[in-house]
């Protein structure tokens, strides 16, 4: 009896949360400042790092693997609520070359289309908005207001990522120096 009630409560709370999230983007943005969120992220990142250590011994690819693991863990922390996080999770390194090709084609199109679009907004802002759209994953074709929404969440998430990775590297470096084991030659 008690268990089924609890399940019902949890289900209804989750439904509530989902409904709230669909309506408001703001609460999800402030969650990146929560200590609990950062700790969860740090643990997930640590787990991912151990997998990286097992899989990729060579130097340059290990850094890239670390960055990808960190970004993927960050995207998962967003729980599918934002476009940038979904874009990170659905893309891999394969998308890099496709993105470069798209960029070349898009800049050609933009130059021909920008001259005729001087009606409402100055081209300078449009140009900068495009640059921003390229920086935030998966947000190239987004409308301006949506882009700004995604940007604010993305920036908050990145700040948390930097805090978590800094803290983790502090811990690792202090443990490393204290362990007394000499680094492998």
């Amino acid at each position: 009896m008690v268990i089924s009630n609890l399940e019902g409560e949890i289900a209804s709370k989750e439904g509530e949360r989902k409904r709230k999230r669909k309506g408001e983007v703001r609460p999800s943005q402030s969650k990146w400042r929560l200590d609990s969120e950062q700790k969860t992220y740090s643990s997930k990142l640590l787990e991912a790092l151990r997998c990286v250590r097992a899989g990729a011994p060579a130097e340059p690819s290990r850094t890239r693997a670390v960055r990808e693991a960190a970004n993927r863990a960050l995207a998962m922390a967003a729980r599918g609520q934002t476009r940038w996080s979904r874009a990170i999770l659905s893309s891999r390194t394969l998308k890099l070359t496709a993105a470069k090709r798209r960029r070349a084609a898009a800049s050609r199109l933009k130059r021909s289309g920008g001259a005729s679009q001087e009606k409402k907004r100055p081209p300078a802002i449009q140009r900068k908005a495009r640059v921003l759209g390229k920086l935030v994953p998966g947000c190239r074709q987004l409308s301006f207001p949506k882009l700004l929404e995604e940007t604010s969440d993305y920036i908050a998430a990145l700040e948390m990522q930097v805090r978590a990775m800094s803290a983790l590297s502090e811990i690792l470096s202090s443990i490393g120096s204290g362990s007394g084991a000499p680094p492998p030659a």
């Binding site: 643990s43 850094t63 670390v66 802002i125 900068k128 640059v131 207001p145 940007t151 690792l172």
Partner: protein, 86 residues
């Protein structure tokens, strides 16, 4: 239909979004400028994101190096986990 609607976003909506964007940037919090131009804010936002990306790159590099020392002791992982939990 939707594309023409996109071009006709009111200036008011844009200003509203821009002020929200301004609150995100660290410098604007300190300087407390009430009306920085949209263009300048967009530029600052782009450079801020780029600098965050660079920080993540540097940290990835550092973590990658530090991971080599993790190899030898697996009890370290336990210590780290408990530190993270506290």
């Amino acid at each position: 239909m939707s594309s023409s609607r996109r071009n006709r976003i009111t200036d008011e909506e844009i200003n509203d979004l821009i002020s929200k964007l301004q609150s995100l940037l660290p410098e604007s919090r300190r300087r407390n400028t009430s009306r920085a131009s949209a263009s300048k804010l967009l530029k600052e936002t782009c450079s801020y994101i780029k600098s965050l990306h660079r920080e993540v790159d540097d940290l990835s590099d550092r973590l990658s190096e530090l991971m080599a020392t993790m190899d030898n002791n697996s009890p370290q992982a336990e210590i780290i986990r408990s530190l993270l939990r506290s």
